[in-house]
């Protein structure tokens, strides 16, 4: 099939029109959607919950011996079962090596104090959460206080959010938590005041919003303070006098994959 000059020009013209039209249509109907995040979140007079993890203190404690006080407290608080199988693992707060937690800071020769050392990871409660943009049922969304919430009543288990999250902070319930092996979870459910989840929903850290509502600190922060390590700090980013803002003023902090523009709200002091 030969394309003559006339046909070719028509085709090029139509394609160009269509291309320009699509850009204009998106600008009209969904302005700003195409651009990656460029704006810094501004204080809106409301609270913006954030966490600061003092890795110096945490790693000092780890040097004495394995410490999982915060993880145990979280699992206990939120009825997170152990399936004894890494593929079905449910993770709200967990540990990974420095190189895995900060893959975009690839120093060939690392400080021995952090090389291969376990870093705490949890949901970053991003200011521009990509998980919320992709959720088709709006079962995950950002609250006004910055917490990225999840509504298991509404989750259909499509796992788009898990694909969108650059931090792997979300876990899927492959099995029914009630059917978790009894020998691994002898006293499950551990917290009678908190629900379990169902098979087929996604879950993650919620900064213990149910505890915040009662004026308590998140379970991990409390557990860390209880063992007198005080490596986890929680507070309001919008308050310039808050404990975390003071820490961030005094110490050098890094965030995970900040270059993606999701504005994580978990800071690591190193």
């Amino acid at each position: 099939m030969a394309v003559d000059r006339r046909k070719f020009l028509k085709l090029v013209g139509c394609s160009a029109l269509f291309g320009l039209g699509a850009k204009t249509a998106i600008d009209i109907f969904a302005p700003g959607e195409l651009e990656a995040s460029m704006k810094e979140s501004l204080p809106n007079g409301k609270k913006k919950w954030a966490m600061v993890i003092d890795m110096d203190k945490c790693l000092q404690k780890q040097a004495e011996g394995k410490c999982t006080a915060c993880i145990t407290a979280c699992n206990h608080e939120h009825n997170i079962p152990d399936f004894g199988n890494i593929k079905e693992e449910i993770k709200w707060i967990w540990q990974d090596t420095y190189e895995h937690v900060f893959p975009t800071q690839p120093n060939r020769f690392l400080d021995e104090d952090i090389e291969g050392k376990p870093f705490l990871v949890l949901c970053n409660h991003c200011e521009n959460p990509p998980c919320c943009r992709v959720c088709p049922t709006k079962s995950t969304w950002q609250r006004e206080d910055g917490i990225v919430m999840i509504d298991p009543h509404r989750c259909i288990g499509c796992r788009f959010c898990m694909a969108a999250c650059p931090f792997g902070s979300r876990s899927f319930n492959w099995g029914d938590p009630r059917k978790a092996p009894k020998e691994l979870n002898p006293d499950y459910p551990t917290n009678m005041d908190y629900p379990r989840r169902n098979k087929g929903v996604v879950e993650k850290c919620t900064f213990c919003e149910e505890r915040l509502a009662q004026g308590k600190l998140p379970a991990c922060v409390e557990a860390c303070a209880e063992i007198k390590v005080h490596a986890l700090h929680f507070g309001d980013l919008n308050d310039p006098d808050s404990e975390i803002r003071q820490l961030l003023r005094e110490r050098y902090a890094i965030r995970r994959k900040a270059e993606l523009g999701t504005e994580p709200k978990v800071y690591y002091l190193i």
């Binding site: 609250r143 919430m149 509504d151 009678m192 005041d193 629900p195 379990r196 169902n198 919003e209 509502a213």
Partner: protein
């Protein structure tokens, strides 16, 4: 009719089998179960809303609570903001409810109109009082043939049976 001697008895037997459950249960209407109150619930006298309302609309109340708690982070319920008083979003429900309690409005007012604060939670507030889930919730739900999936996630209290 060919083979009438087989077909007609066959039809009669078939009809009898079909009707047997109805004949077996004829005249024995299953009694509607009465929800049993625990000592704590009896002592409290008043639920978060008047009993007739709770009987008819507890599911709507729980649904509203669920929405307010999860979506809005609003975890406390004041009996003052009572449902039929200023029911903002479902006027049909409001009208149904008004008809339902017409004539008994006075005695169904919330206690003192002063307002009592409750923590909105099926698991820790409702079932704290109604700890006897099998006698309070389940037998009625079974009678009505409804299977609410609340308990897939929310944990029921341990009962002494």
């Amino acid at each position: 009719m060919y083979d009438g001697g087989k077909i007609i008895p066959g039809l009669i037997i078939g009809l009898c089998l079909f009707l047997s459950p109805f004949l077996y249960n004829a005249g024995k209407a299953a009694k509607a179960p009465e929800p049993e109150l625990t000592a704590k619930a009896k002592k409290a006298k008043q639920c978060v809303a008047p009993t007739p309302y709770m009987k008819a609309w507890h599911m709507q109340l729980l649904d509203t609570w669920r929405h307010e708690v999860v979506r809005d982070g609003n975890r406390y319920y004041n009996t003052n903001e009572n449902l039929w008083w200023d029911y903002k979003f479902d006027y049909k429900l409001l009208e149904d409810w008004r008809r339902f309690v017409s004539g008994t409005m006075e005695e169904n007012q919330p206690p003192g109109r002063a307002g009592k604060i409750y923590y909105k939670s099926l698991q820790t507030t409702c079932l704290d009082c109604h700890a006897n889930k099998s006698k309070f919730c389940d037998q009625c739900h079974n009678y009505m043939g409804v299977t609410p999936y609340c308990w897939d996630c929310h944990i029921e209290p341990k009962e002494n049976k």
